[in-house]
Amino acid sequence: MTASNDLQRNTKKHFRLSPAARAFLALALVLLLGFVFNAHGAFFKLGTHRDALRQSSVYGILACGMTLVIISGGIDLAVGSVVALVAVCSALMAIHWNWSPWIVVPLSLLIGATCGAVSGGITALLRVQPFIATLAMMVFARGLAKHVSGGTKISTAIEQADKTYRYAELPKWFRAIDSRVLWGQVSVVTVVCAACLLVAFIALARHVWGRQLYAIGANEEAARLSGVPVIPAKIAAYVASGVFAAIAGICQAAQETQGDPEAGAGYELVAIAMVVIGGTSLMGGRGGVCLTLLGVLIIGYLEKILSINAVPEATRLMLTGIIIVVAVVAQRQRSS
């Protein structure tokens, strides 16, 4: 189990909490905050929790891929732009061209995978720093999204050649993604997010590839000299991140009922914050999906609690910034 890998032995002299325990503590603290500032009982309503989870789901999907990449010692700044690119492309295919989801979804995932493969290839093969490689991909994919959409939102209102508008129907499966299941208490996106977390968890904890990512992130040269296929494993991490970004892109398009080329801006930073708050080290080689789940919940609930208390957005952003610093400082390991 990933979490148990991270459990540090508490020595007799220094009592140290494991990163998982600390993240749990932080989450409990956030929930306590909600308990106290419950906005006249709004915090105790099921709908609030459903919304908190729904609103953090797209970020959570991105955080899955981000966890894989960060554990391998890299970073993926391109995911926000890939969300936009895939949102635009899937909206175009599904709404304008009315293609079947059996074609749209695989093609969308392929777009995400390609973006990941390119940025992964640039880092692993050309040895460009991941920050730079994915920054370039971030700019490029944003441009491509704008190019594909012609700079406008891809919505049900379709402009004709004669400047008039025709209104297409929103595909049923788009609506399904934005609906709820389990007696209307859980959003479909949340289910998708949970599935993504599970897949990433199993891959990291039980697949050989996951173990290779940890080794690469902690000491790439030692991993290479131990026979780990460093280049394919690293590229695969970026491909996975691209695929998760594509899933997030489809969800985004379904939720907004349109493909916005401006969508997803800054999402990569939220995803990184979630991973880091969970306790996964930006240095690589340490962390896991369970921690990321806690990170997703911490940030998701924090946002929700601040918003139900009608804290203005300006204050909310400032508070979030402060809390990220506090959480990461608290997470920092003192072992040398």
Binding site: S4, R9, R206, R211, A222, R224, L225, G227, P229
Partner: protein, 542 residues
């Protein structure tokens, strides 16, 4: 007679009763050491004797220790390298601590810039830097980035930096290891000059020739204990070596019955091009054969290409190699470590922290890393099997650890090395390349590793060994190959090889005129032991 005058010369630095522990491991025990103004004090001892720990205490790197330090009679507690600098103690490190892209003036005034309200007076700093540099006879532009100078010049800049900080005690840790002959000469002149200025110099070296040239007094440490301090004139080379080594080689190295079988590894015309094929190879046309159960030692000085031979064979340089390599008679295409590992080769790298282990991860993860795919079923890991394998290995190698889930970083050097060996044994290698297997580990763990090597040879594994310790090379090897600038200069049976013959070949076939490995006197005292060890003398008392 002259010794009776010395109370008049109060020591510059006096360390008394210094004890230092790393966990339960005592690395220094009740050591006393002093340096007087105007002397060169040699600190001698084998690797792991505690020399660098003692220096690090004085330099403020290790701050928790028992004992007292007095500087000119006043008790001090160096809290940090910076603090110790302020007190007038400077260490010239083996790995230089200058910042490459910065100029020598900037380096010298780093952290204590001449500035008004934060604005640096560049001109003033450069003048000051130039003053110190010229004093050392160095005519360089203080504005030039230090990375553009040779190592020798950089070392002088470092000394100038120390002097500019008003250092009274200069500690030089193997300062000549990277220097050529004329530069060494200049360094010695500099040492003489510093002595006359009243500095106390602590000089660490393994080279006997240097000791006899510049020593005023010598302090010998062995296994963390002080053996004594003597005036250089009272400590002739033969006695010094007895102090340092302290035991017969026969006791240090276990014996084994060798049984050499069919050829395991055959290489022919093997060359390695780390910089690509257009650049010069670091290993040229190496050819040799190792049999099952044989230990072949590879000797050579720094830059001989021995490590590159290992890395090249192991596929660390990808396909930038040429020649023919056969394991158990079948040709191996060298392409990547992965393929080579599958073919039955394993490499214990010389730097276990940088390239051998994934320090942040657990013992289990490290042990199973090279055999992950083998232990997995269709890519899915089987944690229970991994645990089992790691536990068996740990028991076999007598690994001492609180738990197998513990990060490797928390283990001692010897136990880390056992993890590094364990991970390779798990791949069931046919040929094991050992690059400095006993570097930086204590005597007890060394002995265990020697015994393990013997055990492996009994299983028919061929061992190829690089070691910078001459005694180890001669005592362990059935055959010694000596390399010089990428070429194999000699290939001789272990019982024929002597320090003289190895050194001669390592220096390119000329007669060894000075002592780069250990020294002429070491050779004369050790040679009989090596022979008795390599042949058939029974172990006494057993």
């Amino acid at each position: 007679m002259s010794d009776f005058v010395f109370p008049a010369v109060a020591p510059l630095v006096e360390m008394t009763g210094i004890t230092k522990r790393f966990g339960s491991n005592v690395v220094l025990q009740d050591v006393s050491f002093n340096v007087r103004a105007g002397e060169t004090h040699i600190l001698a001892g084998e690797n792991g004797a505690g020399k660098s720990t003692l220096i690090k205490i004085l330099g403020g790197i290790h701050t928790d220790f028992e004992g007292t330090i007095r500087l000119q009679g006043r008790e001090i507690q160096p809290r940090s390298p910076l603090h110790s600098n302020e007190l007038g103690i400077a260490i010239i490190h083996q790995e230089l601590s200058l910042i490459g892209p910065m100029s020598s003036a900037d380096n010298m005034f780093l952290g204590r810039n001449k500035a008004t309200a934060g604005w640096v007076h560049n001109r003033l700093q450069e003048q000051e830097a130039a003053k110190w540099l010229t004093q050392l006879g160095l005519d360089i532009d203080p504005r030039q980035p230090v990375e553009q100078f040779s190592i020798a010049v950089r070392q002088c800049i470092e000394i100038a930096k120390a002097l500019s900080q008003q250092a009274r005690v200069l500690i030089m840790d193997e300062p000549t290891s990277a220097l050529q002959e004329p530069e060494v000469e200049r360094l010695f002149q500099l040492v003489e000059q510093l002595k006359q200025q009243g500095c106390g110099i602590v000089y660490i070296t393994h080279k006997m020739e240097e000791i006899s040239r510049i020593a005023d007094r010598i302090t010998v440490l062995r296994d963390g204990k002080l053996l004594g301090t003597e005036a250089a004139s009272e400590l002739p080379a033969s006695k010094l070596i007895r102090w340092m080594v302290g035991r017969e080689l026969g006791e240090q190295f276990p014996r084994r019955d060798k049984q050499i079988g069919t050829p395991r590894l055959e290489i022919a015309n093997f060359s390695v091009f780390p910089q690509g094929r257009s650049a010069a190879p670091t290993v040229r046309n190496a050819s040799f054969t190792i049999g099952a159960g044989e230990i072949v030692g590879v000797g050579g000085l720094q830059g001989s290409g021995a490590s590159d031979l290992f890395l090249g064979l192991f596929g660390a340089y990808g396909n930038r190699v040429s020649g023919n390599v056969k394991i158990d008679g079948s040709t191996v295409t060298i392409h990547s470590p992965r393929r080579v590992i599958e073919a039955g080769l394993a490499l214990l790298t010389s730097d276990r922290k940088a390239t051998g282990l994934v320090l942040r991860r657990s013992i289990v993860e490290n042990i199973v890393l090279p055999s992950l795919s083998k232990l997995a079923r269709k890519g899915w890991r089987r944690p229970a099997a991994e645990q089992r394998v790691a536990a068996t290995m740990a028991e076999k190698l007598c690994l001492r650890a609180a738990s197998l889930e513990m990060p490797v970083a928390e283990l001692s050097g010897g136990n880390q090395q056992k993890v590094a060996i364990a991970k390779w044994l798990e791949t069931k290698p046919r040929v094991l390349l050992l690059d400095e297997p006993t570097r930086g580990i204590d005597i007890g763990a060394k002995r265990e590793i020697y015994e393990l090597m013997h055990q492996l040879t009994r299983q028919g594994i061929a061992l190829l060994l690089i070691t910078s310790e001459m005694s180890e090379l001669l005592a362990l090897s059935d055959r010694v190959i000596v390399m010089h600038r990428g070429r194999i200069m000699a290939d001789m049976p272990g019982n024929v090889a002597t320090p003289d013959s190895v050194l001669a070949a390592a220096m390119g076939g000329h007669e060894a005129d000075n002592s780069l490995f250990a020294g002429n006197d070491i050779q004369s005292t050790n040679a009989p032991d090596n022979e008795s060890c390599a042949t058939n003398e029974p172990v006494g008392g057993e």
